[in-house]
């Protein structure tokens, strides 16, 4: 997706004769592939939660008993962890989305492909670390 020929060191060791997932051992994906895969996985993950969330908020219309009874689900520890993963996915998708828009509308962006991806990681961590810290603190308190 970048320059046509991939430098040999990025392709990893030659794995002739190896089959299945083992063939990918030592393979270092180019940043474009990595960011694309993460964008799709996080996007579909957030969509899945959104659909669930629309159903639960629909139950608000059935009154306090119905809705509050359902909330045990979101207060379950497994869901609290899932909530943090959801935020991670959302933040990555947002940061990487800005990178995609930059590439689309800024002619020189392709020259800084690697830097832009590292920028996404920095923005993601700068947002996610404080958010996760506050969420975990509220959880254990």
């Amino acid at each position: 997706m970048t320059t046509g020929t991939v430098p040999t060191q990025e392709r990893g060791p030659v794995t002739a004769g190896t089959r299945g997932i083992a063939a990918y051992r030592g393979y270092r994906p180019p940043v474009g592939m990595l960011s694309w895969a993460l964008h799709r996985i996080t996007g579909l993950g957030v969509l899945l939660f959104l659909l669930l969330h629309i159903v639960d908020i629909f139950l608000v219309g059935y009154g306090p008993e119905t809705f509050n009874e359902l909330l045990f689900l979101y207060r379950h520890p497994v869901f609290r962890i899932g909530e943090i993963i959801l935020v991670a996915g959302l933040y990555y998708h947002a940061a990487n989305g800005v990178r995609i828009i930059l590439i689309d509308f800024w002619d020189k962006a392709y020259q800084f492909e690697r830097q832009l991806f590292y920028g996404v990681i920095v923005v993601f961590l700068a947002g996610f670390i404080p958010t996760a810290f506050l969420m975990i603190r509220a959880m254990v308190r």
Partner: protein, 138 residues
């Protein structure tokens, strides 16, 4: 002397529905960054799922601003998300029959979830339950 522009990322579609979809992704995406991150900070950081209950939602939706905010977010997020799922389907589902099937599911989901989400956000009336509770109590 400058090298030709390299193809990076998804090519901008030439026209028609795919071009609208391409623009919609980018415009709704930018709006959603603001809407969804504000939502996450208010509902998951400042408040948490320990505090949020029916009363919390009722108070919040007492304000037309938050109803409009939530409805706009619902509309943009749902179409952005399902349109993304449509691109994933186009990437992996090759046979014509299965593709029609998958697209039907996605469009139906868009209509159904938009309707139930809109009913939730726009028609919610906490006073109805207040009145019912008072009537039952007396």
């Amino acid at each position: 002397m400058s090298a030709p522009r390299l193809r990076v990322g998804r090519e901008r579609p030439a026209g028609g529905f795919e071009l609208y979809s391409w623009y919609f992704f980018r415009i709704s995406g930018l709006l959603l960054i603001f809407l969804a991150i504000t939502h996450v900070v208010i509902m998951h950081v400042i408040n948490t799922v320990d505090e949020i209950d029916w009363r919390f939602v009722a108070d919040r939706w007492g304000s037309p601003f938050w109803r409009a905010f939530d409805w706009l977010m619902l509309f943009l997020a749902l179409l952005h998300g399902l349109n993304g799922a449509r691109l994933a389907v186009d990437d992996y589902v090759r046979s014509r029959g299965w593709r029609i099937f998958a697209h039907s599911i996605l469009w139906s989901a868009a209509v159904i979830f938009l309707i139930i989400g809109s009913i939730a956000v726009l028609t919610f009336n906490p006073d109805a339950f207040q009145a019912a509770a008072t009537a039952a109590g007396s």
